[in-house]
């Protein structure tokens, strides 16, 4: 087998190269030739093609994403901001936490189990790379309609994959969300989030500094799996699933578990200068990013890379996305100690090169130079596109056909029937069929997990400090108005975190959209990013990282635009956390915030009328801030026993969940003058319900009055009558509610 070398490339400038098959456009190829002053070798072409893919280079999104950094609010809480593997937040007392969410959508469609499993594996390594111990995962999932055949194939596989990998890794899964819409048939979304904990002085960065320092590849061997994952799979629209299967990586959670423990010992012994995980684009990405962020030069002896199959070509070695691999930069004097720790954990580790002062990444294959490039041109100077943008004409129609003529339930029995229908809709119904497949207990620090408003973990068993995280997103809102939809996603996650008693501090996001080559999709994207950046600025919570997933469409039909937003908050005493379960007899139930007739994009319209239209609920970020402040204060001072944010299916869903989770009934009274239907089903933002023990009643209402937060007493928790009763309208026994709420997913998926 002949290998294309730099020497050969200089000699044969006119040789045809298969750049289109690798996903590069004519002008991109021309640019590579210009950068190098010659044609690229086939290995160089491989590196540029994977690194300049949409997935790695953000070429369509970059010009819009800039505003996330430009508009980022000033905060002391951020230790590492956007641009590194993950953002790092100051959690107080010398603790730091790092978190990030990332998509693995296309692989999860092609091969649900491995696609989802390696999605978890990838995000965990991103967190590990920051020098942290990963402490929890959560995920945001979207599937087609529950009864679609594709959903029956994809959902069980995705859930088993997330569980299979995360459980075996020993990371508690502390929540997330699942919802359904027909636009996700053929395009499920699997967005995986991980959070890690470290001491503030232990943060590690991906940098290759110090001439003569060694480059060590450690972890699994390199195989032929996942080749072209980022370019072929993640950066194009596709339909023929089977043919792409070799582009999906295969995960081995056991290998990752020992890699985590091995890294913890390496971090503790202070043995590394820099570290990078190998994920999308494999060694091409790790070497060019490490070199770009360091002194700029690196020499790699590629034939030293341990292979699963000896016959692999250098191009395959550079592009392989084999999982469970890391790359570290180590001073020569510390190499022996590094290798000793790896041996203890039976982790394969190989010195594959060293840092140089040449300013170039040079890769040698059996003595011949096959790559000689300025690393920044590969990692950071890829193409940037200003894609055409056009507001889709149907946007106006959504506003016009607002569902105001849909028949609304009148009184009593009709409201009762609507409640049961909404509670049993797959988006609102019990998700324990999914979450029971995830270990939520391991590591012994899980304070809150699904179905709570947010997940919460204690940072370590010797502190009371903890973090709370919520991920949210609503594709229906975002379709109707992407600017508002993205803001509502942020507001909901922010509110969820605050309702547990934690102070929201930072944001991660995963932007799932159709093809960027469609001007209508680009309009949705631009609006969503603008909305998110503006809202982060107002709420004072910066975006610390995340990712973009384009090309989520089947044929010409894109998915609902789905910005998923994760918010992380810190709580200094986890024993003060607030759950959403009603807890004691006689506790007063208060509705905080204002309820308006806002049912555009609502769960009621979807579940009862299968209708999508109108305007999403209005956003009032100052109100969100005030609501959060009051809930956090009330939690700290022990004024409230439960809190539940109001979002999908409004008050109706929140009441049902608080009753069922606590196993306690509630008597509810519709406030004077309010329309019972709007009261129950409106999805107005900036609202929550709390239950307040009688002795705290005055303190709590005084606090709301002082702070100017609308607070309406709507009922009382009742131990003796196990039912949800709305006075003068209807009552439903908890057993009936539980039956309706818990049946759908269990019945469908077994």
């Amino acid at each position: 087998m002949s290998v294309d070398t730099v020497k050969a490339a200089k000699k044969s400038p006119k040789q045809e190269q298969p750049y289109t098959e690798l996903g590069l456009k004519d002008d991109e190829y021309a640019r590579i030739r210009e950068l190098l002053g010659r044609r690229p070798t086939s290995s160089e072409l491989t590196m540029y093609s994977v690194m300049w893919s949409e997935h790695c280079s953000y070429k369509s999104s970059k010009i819009h994403l800039r505003q996330l950094a430009e508009k980022a609010p000033q905060t002391d809480a951020l230790l590492v901001g956007i641009g590194e593997n993950a953002g790092v937040v100051d959690a107080g007392d010398g603790w730091a936490v790092t978190f990030k969410i990332e998509s693995h959508n296309h692989p999860s469609f092609v091969e649900p189990y491995q696609g989802a499993a390696t999605g978890v594996g990838g995000i965990v390594r991103d967190i590990l790379t920051m020098g942290a111990r990963p402490v929890a995962v959560m995920d945001s999932l979207r599937f087609g309609r529950v009864d679609a055949p594709d959903t029956a194939r994809v959902l069980p596989g995705v859930v088993a994959g997330i569980g299979g990998y995360g459980n075996c890794l020993g990371l508690p899964n502390i929540g997330g969300e699942v919802s359904f819409d027909e636009s996700y048939v053929g395009n499920p979304l699997v967005n995986a989030l991980c959070v890690g904990v470290m001491r503030k002085d232990a943060i590690k960065l991906a940098t290759a500094k110090g001439k003569g320092n060694k480059v060590i590849l450690f972890g699994a061997k390199t195989g032929r799996d996942g080749i072209g994952g980022v370019s072929v799979l993640a950066s194009a629209t596709f339909q023929d699933g089977d043919a792409k299967r070799p582009s999906v990586q295969v995960g081995d959670p056991f290998a990752e578990k020992v890699l985590i423990e091995c890294c913890q010992e390496i971090f503790a012994a202070d043995l590394i200068v820099g570290i990078q995980d190998l994920g999308g684009a494999g060694l091409s990405c790790a070497t060019t990013e490490l070199a770009s962020a360091g002194d700029g030069g690196m020499r790699i002896e590629l034939d030293r890379v341990p292979l699963r199959e000896a016959s692999m070509s250098p191009e395959e070695v550079l592009a392989s996305e084999s999982q469970e691999r890391m790359c570290a930069i180590v001073e020569p004097a510390k190499v022996d100690d590094f290798l000793t720790i790896c041996r203890k954990w039976d982790v394969l580790a190989t010195v594959i090169g060293e840092v140089t002062s040449t300013g170039r990444l040079q890769v040698v294959w059996h003595g011949e130079l096959i790559v000689d490039v300025p690393p920044r041109t590969v990692a950071h100077e890829g193409p940037v596109y200003e894609r055409p943008i056009e507001k889709p004409p149907e946007q106006e129609a959504y506003a016009r056909h607002d569902g105001s003529k849909l028949r609304r339930p009148g009184k009593g029995d009709e409201l009762r029937a609507a409640l049961l229908k909404v509670v049993a809709s797959p988006n609102v119904a019990d998700k324990s069929w999914v979450t029971d497949q995830y270990d939520r207990y391991v590591l012994g620090n899980t304070v809150l997990a699904q179905p709570e408003n947010a997940g919460m973990v204690r940072l370590s068993s010797d502190t009371t400090r903890g973090v709370a995280i919520s991920v949210d997103g609503n594709g229906r809102y975002s379709l109707l108005d992407p600017y508002t939809g993205a803001q509502l996603a942020l507001a909901e996650a922010y509110r969820n975190v605050a309702s547990t008693g934690a102070r929201p501090l930072a944001v991660t996001n995963c932007l799932n959209f159709g093809s960027p080559e469609d001007p209508g999709v680009m309009w949705q994207f631009r609006e969503a990013v603008r909305g998110l950046a503006d809202a982060c600025q107002t709420l004072g919570v910066p975006v610390t990282g995340g990712n973009v997933s384009f090309y989520n469409q089947t044929g010409h039909t894109p998915i609902l635009p789905t910005p998923i937003v994760g918010v992380l908050g810190v709580i200094d005493d986890v024993t003060r956390r607030v759950t959403h379960a009603f807890r004691s007899d006689g506790a007063q139930i208060y509705l905080l915030g204002d309820t308006r007739d806002e049912l555009g994009g609502s769960e009621w319209m979807e579940a009862v009328h299968n209708f999508l239209g109108g305007r999403p609920p209005a956003v009032d970020l100052d109100r969100e801030r005030l609501l959060a402040d009051v809930m956090i204060e009330a939690a700290r001072e022990g004024l409230i026993e439960s809190a539940h944010d109001l979002s999908d299916a409004g008050l109706a869903a929140a009441l049902v969940e608080s009753c069922l989770h606590g196993g306690l009934g509630a008597h509810i009274t519709v406030p004077g003058g309010a329309d019972p239907f709007v009261f129950l089903f409106s999805e107005s933002a900036g609202r929550a319900i709390v239950s307040v023990p009688r002795r705290m009643d005055d303190s709590f209402t005084d606090r709301c009055a002082q702070r100017g937060l609308p607070c309406t007493r709507i009922g009382v928790v009742d131990v003796l009558s196990p039912a949800l009763e709305v006075a003068g309208q209807f009552d439903v026994p908890l057993t009936e509610l539980r039956g309706a709420w818990s049946a759908p997913l269990r019945t469908l998926f077994g």
């Binding site: 459980n167 959670p253 020992v258 497949q437 207990y441 391991v442 012994g444 204690r458």
Partner: protein
């Protein structure tokens, strides 16, 4: 003076730190033991924790059985040292023939994590003396291969000898024969169970504190 309880870490052990924490919460001293060690470092008891030792390759617990530390554990168990195997640790004890039977894939073919009702049926073992006979407790389960099986003769024998330590109550989560959740050996010093008492030692982070007595016998 409190007991020193060893907690073994195999590659792929996951609940080793949880088990050690439970030992400390109960007031005893937790001593980390490494799979490649050949001695037990003078401990008074040993816990084989949950997880996926060696990735559960081949069969859950099948490779861990051959770890150097297991020779010492098996010998100590035969000499009467209290040994507790939780989840994967139970699988290792069965593979090591310290306990009869085997654990197979759950009948519904899924991993399951939930808070589980159990009945304590033997409160005389080294690990369950802190309970009352017939006591109902809630302890989390989390397993994919938790279905306890053995042939009829063995099942009859362990039932007759009162060697069923805990039994699933209200609802069998995985198809275990005769709802068996945990068993002991003839001498009552070796106990294996699928549920995770180490995840029920404090209400804040677990399913209550019903699991604590498994560990508190070792406290002063």
């Amino acid at each position: 003076m409190s007991s020193r309880v060893g907690v073994v870490t195999f590659p792929g052990s996951l609940d080793d730190r949880d088990a050690a924490r439970a030992v400390r919460v109960a007031g005893a001293e937790a001593v980390p033991l490494w799979h490649a060690d050949t001695t037990l470092n003078g401990v008074d008891a040993v816990i084989l924790p949950g997880g996926f030792s060696y990735g559960d390759y081949l069969r859950a617990g099948a490779i861990a059985r051959f770890a150097p530390i297991m020779q010492a554990v098996v010998k100590a168990a035969h000499d009467g040292m209290p040994v507790l195997g939780i989840c994967n640790g139970f699988q290792v004890l069965c593979e090591s023939h310290l306990l009869p039977g085997a654990l197979v894939r759950n009948d519904h073919r899924k991993f399951i994590c939930r808070d589980q009702y159990l009945i304590v049926e033997n409160a005389e073992t080294a690990w369950t003396a802190g309970y009352r006979h017939g006591q109902e407790i809630v302890v989390p389960i989390k397993n994919g291969e938790g279905g306890y099986v053995a042939d009829e003769r063995v099942l009859d024998e362990i039932e007759a000898e009162g060697r069923v330590v805990v039994r699933y109550a209200r609802d069998n989560p995985n198809g275990s024969l005769r709802d068996i959740a945990g068993i002991t050996n003839d001498a009552g010093n070796v106990v294996g169970l699928m549920p995770h008492p180490e995840h029920a030692v404090e209400a804040l982070t677990g399913a209550g504190a019903d699991g604590l007595p498994f560990f508190s016998w070792a406290a002063p």
